[in-house]
Amino acid sequence: MNKVITINLNGVAYQLEEGGYDALRAYLDNAARRLEGNPDKDEIITDIEQSIADKFRALLGAYKTVVNAKEVAGVITEMGPVEGDAAKDTPGQSAAGTKSAASASEAGEAGGVRRLFRIYPEGAMLSGVCNGLGAYFGIDPTLFRIGFVLLGCLWGVGILAYVLMVILVPQAKTSAEKAAASGAAATAQEFIKRARDGYYEGMKSWHDRHARRAWKRKFKRDMRGWKYGFRQQMQEQSQQWQQNWAQQAPPVFGPVFIAPLLSILLFLLVVLMLWAIYSIITAHAVFGLVLPATMPMWVGILLMVIAYQLVAWPIKAVRYSCYYPRAHFVYGGPWGGLFGSLIGLFFLAFGIWSLDRHVPEFHEWLAQLPALLHRFADTVQGWFSRPA
């Protein structure tokens, strides 16, 4: 059973459920705000009200006299956001009438239940996951993209989570679903707004001392309640995470001989990085790519090191999960690092020895190495000495 509110649209009365009334009120208020300064504002609003009335009339019949909240939300979505003066509207700010994500966010302002959807293709880069998340939380989707990339680089979690979301999160197909993708929900903003609304509600009875006191008490109590609940939730979650972290043994990955192979791969990567740095210093170019003349050399070197870390990270992670469960007595513990370094040194020595033996160019280069090192030292000194 729901309360019904009677409204007057251009001289005809319609009965709406309370939730529907709120949504419609919000939609029309928003429309009026958008049309501020438009000389035909009142007329457009009247037209829009008339059009809404037509849609309501189509929904009602002899035995159905009340428009329910869901139907109101549907009508609002159909109407789409009211655009400001077309002349003042910057292109791209809101897609012209096409049922796009922009219209979804507008309709969402007018109320409705928010659901997580992938929004594709409007504004999506890959599959619309981040776009949908952005709409859902009312945040710039770029932040989610950066987050996923970072998580992907660091632990590979991001990639897994992203793929899962592509599969599990449905794509918003109808405009109603697009509206629901960013409909009003308990986001932080909404939370603050509601709290504030409640605050101003209380201000209205400010002159009445008892009402004021009662309201103040209630407001403080509510705020305490929210704060406490939030804090408790955070504490529980962080404990849970810490437990998981402590208990979780790395998963066993692949046969045991993969670990040394990965070590060799890592070693080759180090060599590649060193070679890249060397070529940056000598030729100011790397992999045939000339660095911009304005870019200082140390930035290039830093970029190489970062690139190496980004590539090496997942390999290291795999190697770790590969040997840890089986041979942590060798790799783990205080001596683990030493063992790994010894293997690395061995490969380095072996590599240099075999190159020196089999590649004459390398032999020559090795003979020049002391001179090169001197030049390199001069260059480094040059970075710090100011130009006269």
């Binding site: 655009e83 002349a87 293709p121």
Partner: protein
């Protein structure tokens, strides 16, 4: 970037032209215009159309008259003014030129 998204601005820019075309065919009211548009790539909602129509009326391209309808209150039926017909002709010519360019450019 999808085609639909790439052409958002173009669709937006063409909307007035298309509304002029639809109104030029015969007297229509807003819901008729929407029905015709929604059958195409130029699907539009009331929230966009009404402000556009009022802008076009301010620029004296269209005018309306109230007509009784068999169901419900009287409706606004839109028609082109002389200035509107002129604008439509100019726009159509310009569009002809643009689409001609699109067709012929790059052909040997």
């Amino acid at each position: 970037m999808s085609l639909e998204e790439k052409f958002t601005a173009i669709r937006k820019g063409l909307l007035e032209f298309l509304v002029l075309k639809i109104i030029s065919a015969n007297q229509v009211y807003a819901a008729d215009i929407l029905k015709e548009l929604n059958a195409t790539e130029f699907a539009t909602q009331e929230g966009t159309l009404y402000p556009l129509l009022s802008k076009m009326r301010r620029e004296q391209l269209v005018d309306y008259e109230w007509k009784e309808s068999e169901a419900g209150p009287p409706r606004k039926y839109y028609e082109l003014t002389a200035k509107g017909r002129e604008a439509l002709r100019e726009t159509a010519d310009y569009w002809q030129k643009i689409s001609g360019t699109v067709k012929t450019l790059g052909q040997k």
